[in-house]
């Protein structure tokens, strides 16, 4: 029994990181309708950028802040260069642009930083495990969880209280009306991408602190998709719940279903789960229900 609780708890801790990345994805979808297949690569870029700053000697909070700024700029540039022209184009074209971008970003990361695992050295969070209620946790998981919660709270404040956040919500709700009220849709899209870059970068950095970074972190982006399907494509609380659920699901499936199969369950369990959700309730837990029966 304690193993089960440990699994669920560590799943929640890592799931909070997935939730951050899923949040970025949902944001882009809500504001501009773009289905972003490059989310994993955004995570990768942000994480490696932060690592580079850290390796140049800046203390971790400064490196993190610098990474946020870089991510912001990169998001603005990406949106301006590649996605501005695709507004209104058919869905396949838009998705394939993001797929092309994912190839491109991964190639750039692989070219510049190589494929080896790199660690944050000296470690940012203390290495000794903590013992709570008879269960052992690495400290880095707890710190990541805290950081993720702080960021989620920050995003929540941003969206409900600040002017730009409200503009983004307005655009996501009804673009025409928002435009007629003077909201600049172009800036909203750019901001959505910028925030997604930042959120993904923080997620990647936290992941990198746990055991190191290598190029396989990019596959995280694909895991985000079951998370948002579960939560509903355009729901922010759905993205958070979905991310955490996927984290827990990975752990549980590996330990309980893994022995029944010959291996490899951990990677595909989220996708099998996603298909099941799609067949039963395609709009997820909180998504907008669009009925189209043919």
């Amino acid at each position: 029994m304690p193993v089960f609780v440990e699994l669920v708890l560590s799943g929640i801790l890592v799931g909070s990181i997935y939730a951050l990345v899923a949040l970025g994805w949902t944001l882009i979808y809500k504001c501009s309708g773009v289905l972003n297949l490059a989310m994993g690569e955004l995570t990768l870029v942000g994480a490696y950028v932060c690592l580079t700053y850290y390796q140049w000697g800046f203390p971790f909070p400064v490196a993190l802040a610098a990474m946020l700024v870089t991510g912001f700029v990169l998001g603005l540039v990406t949106e301006r260069l590649f996605l501005r022209r695709m507004i209104g184009e058919p869905i396949l074209a838009v998705i394939m642009i993001t797929a092309g971008l994912s190839f491109f970003f991964r190639a750039v990361v692989g070219f510049v930083w190589g494929t080896d695992t790199v660690v944050f050295d000296p470690p940012v969070f203390p290495r000794e495990p903590l013992s709570l209620f008879g269960m052992v946790f690495a400290q880095v998981y707890l710190w990541s969880f805290v950081a993720a919660l702080v960021l989620l709270a920050a995003f929540a404040w941003f969206f409900t209280r600040s002017r730009w956040g409200l503009s983004m919500q307005a655009t996501a709700d009804d673009e025409m009306a928002a435009l007629s009220l003077g909201v600049s849709a172009k800036w909203v899209y750019a901001l959505a991408w910028a925030i997604a870059f930042m959120a993904a970068g923080v997620g990647g950095t936290l992941l990198g602190n746990i055991n190191g970074l290598n190029i396989s972190v990019g596959y995280l982006g694909l895991l985000v998709l079951p998370a948002v399907v579960l939560g509903g494509l355009n729901s922010v609380p759905g993205a958070i719940v979905g991310g955490i659920a996927i984290g827990v699901l990975q752990n549980l499936s590996d330990v309980y279903i893994g022995p029944l199969t010959l291996g490899g369950v951990k990677e595909i369990a989220p996708f099998v789960f996603m298909i099941a959700v799609l067949l039963v309730r395609p709009y997820g837990l909180w998504g907008w229900v669009k009925i189209e029966r043919v």
């Binding site: 396949l92 394939m96 092309g100 692989g110 070219f111 998709l225 490899g264 595909i268 099998v272």
Partner: protein, 354 residues
């Protein structure tokens, strides 16, 4: 819209329905067949091996073009069905001693049926969700079922290696680059002809109707679900052909070449070539493969000044491909086939402009 050159008048319905409607086009086609048939005679082995890759890419992309370009079902999991075809063929030859053509047929059938299984959700979901389902199909088929279960059949350790000389077409062993080239070329031409003809029938028209507006198609009496599943089946069979062609070129099959990146690659190929056009498949495949080979040749002299280029050439390749997709989608969204049509029309209409 393709214009006929002046001076070509049809006097019978049969003539106006013909595939090749003027002597010029007929001559072009004959030259093409002659070119393809005699390429190994004057080209180096290297060019033949590049041609093999082009043909394999064409066969892989053909199924995707049928599903996405002509039936409107977006698929990002095509490599999984190619893998099913390849594995079925390999196992047929290795374990059940079937002759290669029979094993290939079995492979195509199995790939088609497997494709239908993952096409079933299309009855209920469209668009983004369908993309997710096909992506999940990719992971479940290749990363799970094939990697962990199928690969271990016969205690084989995750890949099937066929002893040289086991693949024969009625006693004629297919074991050199040139023989593989002829096999692939013949199959490619056959498949293109089959698909082109299929698209002219009732089935093809139903698919195009579904692509353009499936609700209207259903309202007009097209059985949307049945035709969608038929499209998945046809795409699966074509994937099976691609898989069957893959086996003699390497005498070896493992899950590594059928990953998500290959699925994305073939979708990129049809986007570069032009969605919804058979020419697009050919142009896209040729463009992507040739550009990458030229890139390899260009990198060799530069590698002296910047050694990381050869060490990390894989990333250069992927980066260029990603950038190519993005640039084509931004600036040439209708693909190379559209440019080809423009070019043909320019000459057909000259000296007029339209």
């Amino acid at each position: 819209m393709s214009y006929l050159p002046s001076g070509v008048y049809h006097q019978t319905y049969a003539a106006s329905h013909a595939w090749w409607q003027s002597n010029f086009v007929r001559a072009k086609m004959v030259l093409l067949v002659v070119f393809v048939a005699t390429l190994p005679l004057y080209a180096s082995l290297y060019v033949v091996s590049v041609a093999n890759i082009v043909l394999y890419t064409m066969l892989s992309a053909l199924g995707v073009q049928l599903l996405t370009g002509y039936c409107g079902q977006i698929t990002l999991g095509h490599a999984a069905f190619i893998a099913v075809g390849a594995y079925a063929t390999a196992m047929g030859v290795l374990f059940w001693g079937l002759p290669y053509p029979l094993a290939a047929l079995l492979g195509c059938l199995l790939a088609g049926l497997w494709s239908v299984v993952f096409g079933l959700p299309s009855a209920r979901i469209k668009g983004f969700y369908q993309i997710m389902t096909t992506m999940a199909a990719q992971f479940i088929t290749v990363d799970f079922i094939i990697t962990h279960y199928v690969s271990r059949v016969g205690d084989r350790e995750h890949y099937f290696s066929l002893p040289p000389g086991t693949i024969t077409l009625g006693g004629w062993p297919v074991d050199s680059e040139i023989k593989v080239y002829y096999l692939s070329a013949a199959l490619t031409i056959l498949c293109f002809a089959a698909v082109a003809n299929l698209l002219r029938t009732k089935v093809g028209r139903a698919w195009i109707a579904i692509r353009d507006n499936d609700i209207a198609a259903e309202a007009m009496g097209v059985n949307v679900v049945a035709y969608k599943l038929l499209a998945f089946f046809a795409a699966g069979v074509l994937a099976g052909v691609a898989g069957a062609v893959w086996i003699p070129s390497l005498y070896f099959v493992s899950p590594e070449h059928f990953q998500l990146s290959w699925s994305l690659w073939v979708v990129g190929v049809i986007l570069i070539g032009g969605v919804g056009s058979l020419h697009g498949v050919a142009f896209g495949a040729i463009f992507v493969t040739v550009i990458l080979e030229l890139l390899k040749l260009a990198v060799i002299p530069l590698a002296d000044f910047y050694p990381a280029l050869t060490e990390r050439f894989l990333y250069v390749k992927e980066g260029v491909f990603g950038l190519a997709i993005v640039l084509f989608l931004l600036y040439e969204p209708r693909g190379l086939a559209y440019r080809w049509e423009q070019l043909k029309n320019y000459f057909n209409l000259w000296p007029f402009r339209y």
